[in-house]
């Protein structure tokens, strides 16, 4: 207490004797507030806004973190940083380049800053069974339908979108279904298959994560992307050759010389059996029931397939004409099919078991896994991901990259800041990214 008193005295003397004392403006506090506003709101907060004056006052009172929180709680943060973080999460590249606003980004912004009647929630980003639209003049509008004028006008001005005030939570998520050439939109996605923002795409070409993960191919990008974006880990971080052939999908050729042991490359089984792409590590939850195909369904975004047939099962490879051969996997046939006869295949009930391989290789421990390690369906997996400590730590690192890229943060500091937002920590964190933002921005290396 005495030390604190002395610090106050020294502060007062320092300010009184400083060469800028006597100016009509508190230069030190204004500079700090200015930098915080620019870092946290991208400079969208005008210095004429009363909130900026509050920030200056908080800094002057010695509470930089409170000043940072004022910026983070403002609508400018939602329009800049929250939107930026949301746009980045549409692919593992975590880049905003070429990504546009969509239902998926609106969902994420709502989970970062909340919406009227809805609290912010990092933990349910991969499981919340809701859709978020914007109330614009009494009409619900999908984010992808916002105009350039609305998006290029900052909050507080005419025609601007105030994300915090305008977001509306609608229960459930809808998808399209395809039967022959008939596309049906507005079909309710079963709750067990909802993956939060990753299962939101109301139109073709919306640059959503669903488009990234489910277009063509085998849907492997879907599950890999979920792991990479939520944890910050890369494919090889989670790979292990300790898997068995049954763990790898049917279309991975067991006869390939690199299948069990890589020769100048990573063994196929390391990722497809022991890593993110294993049939046991969530691939079953997305492989056969989802599609995104502008060719066959040009008006649809995310397509749901409740009853996959052999010809539509992406877990049997990307070429629909070869899926039957892959399923049969008769290695004596000519030409020899590209397949894995020992594959257990993706589970029809979409079960997942993360204990297999990852329990032994320490990946679960590395992720700070605290939810169930086994389950059924994408929604249960997403809920479990939201309980992993690494989710909050990686989000902290991403915030550092945005707010304080030239700072210096140790793992211990990252963990401490992450815990402030981690609802599973003790004491429970806020589940609010703005807590992380304010803590990062007020760290000594960031000032």
């Amino acid at each position: 207490m005495r030390r604190y008193l002395w610090a106050r005295i020294v502060t007062v003397i320092g300010i009184t004797c400083s060469p800028v004392a006597g100016l009509a403006i508190d230069v030190n506090s204004t500079v700090t507030a200015l930098r915080l506003a620019n870092e946290i709101t991208g400079g969208l907060m005008p210095t004429s806004d009363p909130l900026f004056a509050q920030m200056v006052a908080s800094v002057a009172a010695g509470n930089v973190q409170a000043a940072a929180l004022i910026a983070a709680n403002s609508p400018y943060f939602a329009s800049y940083m929250a939107r930026r973080l949301a746009l980045q999460m549409q692919s593992p590249a975590l880049s905003t380049g070429g990504v546009t606003d969509s239902d998926a980004t609106a969902f994420l912004i709502a989970h970062f800053v909340g919406a009227p009647g809805v609290k912010p929630s990092i933990s349910t980003i991969w499981s919340d069974n809701s859709t978020y639209v914007l109330n614009i003049g009494g009409t619900n509008v999908h984010a992808a339908s916002l105009t350039a004028t609305q998006l290029n006008t900052r909050p507080g001005l005419t025609n601007a979108v105030d994300w915090m005030a305008s977001l509306v939570a609608l229960p459930g998520q809808t998808v399209s279904t395809v039967s022959g050439k008939t596309v049906t939109t507005g079909v309710t996605l079963p709750a067990a298959n909802v993956g939060g923002y990753v299962t939101l795409s109301d139109r073709s070409g919306d640059s959503s994560f669903a488009q990234y993960g489910l277009t063509a191919g085998t849907n492997l990008r879907m599950i890999e992307g979920i792991w990479e974006i939520s944890t910050g880990l890369q494919l090889l971080d989670m790979a292990s050759e300790q898997a068995v052939a049954a763990d790898a999908p049917r279309f991975i050729p067991e006869t390939n010389s690199n299948f069990f042991h890589g020769q100048g490359q990573t063994a196929c089984i390391a990722c497809h059996g022991g890593g993110m792409a294993s049939v046991n590590h969530g691939y079953s939850t997305v492989a056969d029931i989802f599609d995104y195909n502008p060719t066959t369904a040009p008006t649809a975004g995310l397509v749901y397939n409740a009853a996959p047939a052999t010809a539509t099962m992406k877990s049997l490879g990307s070429d629909p004409t070869k899926r039957t051969a892959t399923l049969t996997c008769n290695l004596a046939a000519t030409p020899t099919p590209v397949c894995n006869p020992d594959s257990a295949g993706v589970d029809s009930q979409q079960k997942w078991d993360l204990n297999l391989v990852w329990g032994q290789t320490g990946v679960l421990q590395k992720m700070g896994w605290r939810g169930p390690a086994t389950g059924q369906g994408l929604n249960a997996l997403g809920a479990a991901i939201g309980q992993a400590a690494i989710v909050y730590q990686f989000l902290t690192v991403r915030v550092i990259n945005e707010v304080c890229p030239m700072g210096s943060f140790t793992q211990s500091q990252v963990n401490s800041i992450a815990a402030l937002a981690d609802p599973m920590a003790s004491p429970p964190g806020s589940d609010d990214v703005r807590t992380i933002v304010a803590a990062v921005a007020s760290q000594p290396s960031c000032l």
Binding site: N152, K366, V397, G407, P444
Partner: protein
């Protein structure tokens, strides 16, 4: 063409001079910041066995795992304005008398949007040079009247379009200071470098007034570009 080159030469020279004078107001204040910091952030109840972000290798205790500050010390608060913020910051600096959604500003933004910095990290970003083009477009919108009718250089900054540069000198200097103030929270007119700001803007306007081919609107655009650019640079 010769006239255009001359016009921009003068602008860029003055912009650099103006920018160079302004860091004084930031640098001279940094030393005082350490007296009023309250981090307020404490390690809160970490559960045992906290995971690390790098499976297979545990960072040494104290090793920096995020941020580039360990490589370039003393610049922790340095960031670059990004593609998501630059248009708004330009508009804020001009008191939103221009809009990124209309006029030359919107056209230029469409052209350069993909070239603007994608990252706030100065060691990774590129494209900040595109800022000049955007600012030029935005400043020109203030003089056209078109989408911003009536002419905002006149109504917002009291520039008399029919008057000479000399007769508009006070208004031009005031406009530059006002733009800087918007970027810097009033530091341009009330901070320790206020006199230097006025002096540099005076030098710029005086130089412009000595060229008979430059009218008051061109001079306004020059001042606008210089002040906006400097506001961004100092506002890092």
């Amino acid at each position: 063409m010769k006239r255009t080159v001359k016009f921009f030469d003068q602008h860029f020279v003055q912009c650099f001079i103006l920018s160079a004078s302004l860091p004084l107001m930031v640098n001279c204040t940094n030393s005082g910041l350490s007296t009023n910091k309250n981090m307020g952030t404490t390690a809160s109840g970490q559960s045992a066995g906290q995971p690390t972000l790098t499976p297979g290798s545990t960072p040494a205790s104290g090793a920096v795992v995020a941020g580039n500050g360990s490589n370039i010390a003393g610049t922790g608060n340095l960031t670059v304005a990004t593609n998501g913020s630059i248009p708004f910051r330009i508009a804020n600096g001009l008191q939103n008398k221009v809009s990124p959604a209309s006029g030359n500003f919107a056209k230029a933004l469409t052209q350069v949007q993909n070239n603007l910095p994608a990252s706030p990290d100065i060691t990774k970003s590129a494209g900040f040079d595109q800022l000049q083009l955007l600012i030029y477009a935005a400043c020109s919108d203030l003089t056209t009247g078109g989408t911003n009718s009536p002419m905002q250089s006149a109504t917002g900054y009291h520039i008399v379009a029919s008057g000479s540069v000399v007769s508009n000198q006070a208004a031009l200097i005031s406009a530059g200071t006002s733009i800087l103030d918007q970027h810097l929270g009033g530091l341009a007119s009330q901070g320790p470098a206020a006199a230097a700001v006025t002096q540099n803007l005076t030098t710029l306007v005086t130089a412009l007034s000595q060229d008979s081919t430059i009218n008051s609107q061109m001079a306004f655009v020059s001042v606008c570009i210089a002040a906006s650019s400097a506001g961004f640079i100092v506002g890092f």
